[in-house]
Structure formats: structure tokens, C-alpha cells
Point group: C2
Chain length 221, copies 2
DNA sequence: ATTTATTTTTAGATTTGTCTAAAAATAAAT
DNA sequence: ATTTATTTTTAGACAAATCTAAAAATAAAT
């Protein structure tokens, strides 16, 4: 009934949500890996979340967030992304140095704080990584994006977000001047390693590995 | 060496600091009461802080923060008060509804976050309760304030802070339009209950109990 | 100087979240 | 259809932070 979860619980809820989004279904080991913990710990927490009706969990069979769990996840993500926007827009952090701090700020559960922050920020729709920010009711403005790797050759597109947001990847992109909003197109797909040759609007071209091209999400223009 | 404390440790450090400031010395029961916990729990934590060299503690004899513990306390207080300023100045919270949220925000330990926040806020010197905000090096601009109860009759003064910041007290002051920056003077001190008759600049007069007059801190003009 | 009261500390439990190692269930391979 | 490998769960231990109840130290009172 009341929405009051521990920081550990919230981190699990959020991870399950993200893994569900990405792969459709989650398994214990994947979740353990994502949370940098052990499978046994995951099982313990699954039972706890199940008991709190946040999860539909059948031992050995599998698990996914309940309607209630999903709602909780969305609110945590709202807080995370609003703080990320704040850090970049107001405190002038780089978009590749905000994740850890937002990972902590997201656990401050005051509804009033978040709604006032949202207002102060001007009700932003996307976070600095291009991910949509759920509104105060939990509604998400999903945008139909696709991996850069799947973009047809010679079709212009704008970068909207980056999956797999490791600091290393974000720093790499930063160094290549690749950011949310960058407009580019693919000039060639190299078959031997699936890397792609991309060209920016300023005519400059660089080569991007398959892994990176899969992480970069774009909207065709 | 490295400054990484748990939330519980930080709350103890801060409470010890405040009780030291107020009364010169602290005892186990007072600390337990201030932290809304039990004396046994306090003893446990004292041993832990002692082991971390944050406290000079001799069982049964007494305890006080070490130089290192003091420094840690000041940094927690810096974070607390900067967030309070942010909540009032940017998010337009009332000064009597910010404490709980700041109590959580203060535990986000990123130095970069706090220094950037400080810059964003314009390096404020005082929090919304009139308490001084330590700077990035831990220096505090102490101001010589005294309790309203000790202010001489007919001497104008400005309210600079409020001790004993319970929500009830802050709400009461709010309802009487008493806030940081309010200018007033004492017209009479009533001997039978030590209450004081105060007059605002708009000529309005009200009576304030001894307890409240002791909590309100003023600077004579 | 004893006795009595207060304060503080210990002893032992409990809760939360984690871990390693072993057992059980499921999936893959022969 | 067994055997082998992988995944998942249990069993048991542990650290952090808390609690209650009892013991020990200190302070106050007679
Ligand atoms: Mn987190
Ligand atoms: Mn993000
Ligand atoms: Mn706190
Ligand atoms: Mn304050």
C-alpha cells in the first residue's frame, strides 16, 4: 500500500525493470551481474520483493515486475533522470559524470521534492542521455528509437540516447564529440567486423565498432 | 584517511557536533535522546567512531569529537545547509518544511556535487534558518548572535536563526510571520513567566513565551 | 561511609543485506 | 535415456545497526 522501499530494494526494482525492457525477460544470473552481486543474494531479494507484491516470482520458473513493481520502478527512474537533467542543465556537469551521483539522489523519496524539482527544471521530457523522463503520474513519452547499427546506410538520423552507459563508453563518445542531438548518417557497413563508417554533418567521418553502434540509439530524420 | 562514513555514522557525528556547540559537553543519554535512539546503541557507535579516530572516547569518562571528527561534522553541515538553501531559494519550499529532505540529501558525499551546487547558489553565507554555511575548506563565518530572551528592552535586533528547529516551532513562527530577517524589539519582559512582549516594525505587538524567546537568535542592530 | 539513584556499558537477540559452498532443479549433450 | 553442464535455490555465516534487559560504574543522598 504505502510506497517505502529500502535503497537495496529500489536498486533491484530498477535493474529488473531495465533488464525487462532490454531483453524481454530476466534471469537470476543476469540480474546478479547487472547489480554486481551474487546469484544467492538475488534469490533472497526476489523472495522479499515477491512478499511485498512487487514481483511475480515462481522459484526456478522465472520472475517479472508486478503492476505495482512496475509503477515503483518508473518513479525511481523519474527521480534518477530528473536529477541527471539538473546536474547537467543547472550544475554544468558533463553527461558522462552524472550517473553515480544520480544513482544516490534517486533514493530520496520525497514526492514534493521531485515534483518541485520537475517544475524548477521546466518539465524536461528527456534526460541528458536522451532517455524519456516519466511525468508525475508515471507516464512515459516513449520514442521509437533504434540502434545506430540498424540504421540503413545513407539515412540521416539524430542521436537520442545511449544504452549500456558505462563511464568508459560515455567518455569515449565525449572524446569523439558524439552526444545526444548529434546528427549523422552511415556511409558504409563493414562486413568483416560489423563496424560502421559514420559521417557527421561537418563531413568528418570516423569508424565505430559494432558494440558501440549497437549502444547508440537514434531517431531517423 | 579516506572520508567515507555510513549514513548512521554521519548522523551521529553531526549530532555530537551540535550538542557540543550548544552545551559544551555531551553525554550518552542526551545523544541517544537527540538521535531518537537508545543509550546502548550510542555506546556501540561511540566505540566505532573511536576506532575510526573521529572521537576521543573513554568509557564512562566522556567523549568529544577529534579534530578529524570535527572536520567531518562541518562538511556534513555544509551539505545540509546548502541543500536547505537550494530547497528554499530554487524550489520555493517553506523554511519549515525543508529539514527532513535536507537530512537525507546531506548524505550524498560527492565533493564535486556540493562545490558545484555552492557555485550555482552563488556561495550563500547563511541557510534559511540563518545558520552559517561552512565554505569548501570548512571555514565557518560565525556570527555573534544571542537569544531573543537576552536582548535588552527597547533595543532593535534582526532575527538570524532559530535553535531547536522542531517542525512545530517553525510552523508556529511562520503563522506569526516571524522569520529570518524580521526586525523587532522587546517592549517588556514579564517577570512572572519570563515571557516577552515584542514589537514589530509595523507596530504590531505580540507576546512570546520564554521557551520561544530562548530559541530565537537575534543580532542587535 | 554506606545506601540509593542515575548513567553508562555489556550481553545477547534481531533485522537487513550480503557472501561462500553445497544441494537441487533445469537444460544440453551424448 | 543417461550423463554432463548450467542455472537457481538453500544452508549457514557474517557485518552493520539496532533493541531489551541486566550488570557495572559513577554520582547523589543520607
Ligand atoms: Mn541507486
Ligand atoms: Mn540517464
Ligand atoms: Mn541525516
Ligand atoms: Mn538549517
Amino acid at each position: 500500500m504505502r510506497a517505502n522501499f529500502s535503497i537495496a530494494e529500489e536498486n533491484y526494482i530498477k535493474s529488473i525493470y531495465h533488464l525487462q525492457q532490454a531483453t524481454g525477460e530476466v534471469n537470476t544470473n543476469a540480474l546478479a551481474n547487472h547489480l554486481n552481486t551474487k546469484a544467492a543474494s538475488v534469490t533472497d531479494m526476489l523472495k522479499k520483493l515477491q512478499a511485498k507484491n512487487l514481483l511475480n516470482y515462481l522459484p526456478y520458473k522465472g520472475f517479472k515486475l508486478s503492476r505495482e513493481g512496475n509503477k515503483a520502478a518508473v518513479m525511481i527512474i523519474r527521480r534518477h533522470r530528473l536529477w541527471e537533467f539538473f546536474l547537467v542543465d543547472k550544475l554544468h556537469f558533463n553527461w558522462d559524470e552524472i550517473h553515480e551521483v544520480a544513482e544516490e539522489l534517486e533514493h530520496i523519496r520525497s514526492k514534493k521534492l521531485i515534483d518541485k524539482l520537475d517544475e524548477f527544471l521546466g518539465y524536461p521530457k528527456f534526460d541528458p542521455h536522451g532517455d524519456p523522463i516519466p511525468d508525475s503520474n508515471g507516464k512515459i513519452d516513449e520514442l521509437k528509437q533504434l540502434p545506430l547499427a540498424n540504421l540503413p546506410v545513407n539515412k540521416q538520423a539524430i542521436i537520442t540516447s545511449v544504452l549500456n552507459q558505462s563511464n568508459e563508453l560515455l567518455a569515449f563518445l565525449s572524446s569523439r564529440n558524439i552526444a545526444i542531438g548529434t546528427v549523422l548518417e552511415i556511409k558504409d557497413k563493414l562486413p568483416f567486423d560489423n563496424s560502421v563508417e559514420i559521417k557527421f554533418k561537418n563531413k568528418q567521418s570516423i569508424n565505430i565498432s559494432e558494440q558501440v553502434a549497437k549502444a547508440i540509439q537514434v531517431n531517423p530524420l
